[in-house]
């Protein structure tokens, strides 16, 4: 028994997926539907060059209306391409959720979503901090959780669980960051 025992069909999303397919057919790599693949909501794998367009479309379209960015994170898959940037979206009007993923290899940049959701700012900083994925066009991409002087990106799979780094002084005030 797995998640498919609870989620049986993808009917709720059927019309939406068709609509997205028509518009972004060439840039969608793969669509994984609940019921077939063990997931709770449909996952859309999109190519990096069409990522922001797809997110913008999902947000602004009257019927889809995924205007709420529930979560922005990444996973380290340990295969090529190495990372997946994950966007969990939520619609306040239809109460549906959807997941958009974008595969990135190491060193490759993803386009920022801060122009679509200003709230994506810190989540992208956290992804940079924890995974070392850079976001092109981000207003101020610096570390969020770790110290500025920290070496390495802790949530990568090859980063050890232990490995304390020691600092003599606390992180200094940087007036460049004032906004």
């Amino acid at each position: 028994m797995d998640i498919r025992a609870l989620v049986t069909s993808a009917d709720a999303w059927k019309a939406q997926i068709e609509k997205i397919k028509i518009k972004f057919d060439s840039s969608i790599e793969e669509i994984r539907l609940p019921g077939i693949y063990p997931t709770d909501v449909p996952i859309i794998y999109v190519k990096g060059n069409a990522l922001t367009e797809l997110l913008m479309f999902l947000k602004t379209d009257q019927i889809l209306d995924y205007q709420f960015l529930s979560d922005l994170t990444a996973t380290d898959e340990e295969v090529q391409p190495r990372f997946e940037v994950v966007y969990n979206l939520f619609s306040h009007s239809t109460k549906l959720r959807i997941r958009v993923k974008c595969r990135v290899s190491e060193g490759q940049e993803v386009r920022t979503a801060t122009a679509i959701w200003p709230g994506a700012n810190w989540a992208e900083r956290e992804v940079w901090d924890m995974f070392g994925i850079r976001f092109a066009g981000h207003p101020s991409l610096r570390r969020l959780l770790m110290d500025e002087r920290w070496e390495g990106h802790p949530l990568r799979k090859d980063y050890p669980l232990r490995g304390y780094q020691f600092f003599q002084t606390s992180q200094e005030v940087d007036t460049k960051n004032l906004e």
């Binding site: 693949y37 529930s70 994170t73 969990n88 959720r97 770790m146 005030v173």
Partner: protein
Amino acid sequence: MSPERMGIPNTANIHIEPATVNDPDDLWGDSRVIVNIGPTHPAMHGALRMVAQLNGETIEKSYCEMGYTHRAKEKLGENRTYHQFVVYTDRLNYCSSLLNNVAYSLSVEKLMGLEVPARAAWIRMICAEMARIIDHLICVGINAVDLGAFSYFLYGFHQREEAYTLIEKLCGARLTTSFTRIGGLMYDAPDGWEKEVKAWTVETRRVLDEMDELLTGNKIWCMRTKGIAVWDKKQCVEWSVSGPVARAAGVPIDLRKTDPVMFYKDVEFDVPVAQNGDVYDRYLVRMEEIRQSLNIISQCCDKMKKGPIWVDDKRVRIPEKEVVQNTMEGLIHHFKFFMTGFDVPAGEAYTSFEAANGELGFYIVSKGTPRAHRMRIRGPSVWHYQTLTPMVQGYKIADMVGALGSINVIAGELDR
């Protein structure tokens, strides 16, 4: 205290930009001051830090910093079995740890396709609502303390101690409960527990009325909070703000209503929504939510019946003591169960639950092993805390304290 001297040994290289526009409020020409508040400032709950550029007392520019209590819970999620990780969820939002336990268990159960028996779900609902009340009592209390109303805080705090006594009866701990298990609960509730809970709800309702009289109409409180740190409906959606803060601005979303889990469909409660989105409205929304939670608890106490608390699934069920101590197979099963954990089938799910502060989400990716491949915790505090900088821009620095208290940033959930 001069907070700029705390924790910053070297401030000599700070360069302050001279004023470029002619501001009528600018009393001292270009003599702007950079103030560092935190990470150990009493008004910055827990360990938060803000650097603000002040003109007189007005905040012109600022930036916030976090990570001072980072405990690598997401990394630990990849290195601990699913049962072991229950303990770490306590330390997320430590004001309402029961709620985190419930949300986490729900998310793993969703991945495994399990549903807990009715009694367990009712007890979980009581736990979740009790945790929500405790969290809100702390939030409004501390918010009032920060703005100078100390005795108000003690009323709520006493009621909270009473709730902790009930929680202690349930699981033996006050703060870090670790009460739920995947597919069930640690213990069944003791006999007569629901009666005590019900008596507590009656008493809490009385205390709430007292608290209302003390503060809600208080002139100083109103002047300090009305129209302060306004964050409107559109901004709430754009900045992923959820929970009471969003509802205070008129976003009518409560995940208990939109995505009801357990028995939230079967109980009656209202979702309070305000319009102005200022500190005062957040306070009102929280106070009303406490009353609604009390409603839910008393309904749960009435509807709860005796029954099993564990799902009938060998994979997740902790073996009975009787079997473990008397049979060889039981002992081996027990040993394997706790040493290697159980396999969660491959798949991924984002499960969200209406926590006290907003949407608490667990995005778990499983590859079919006893440890998660990715354990992402979406705490509402992160998304709320990043709005503080634009929220307080142009307000006085004393208003920043009220604003921070009203969005209720909890360091454990913020830094994870």
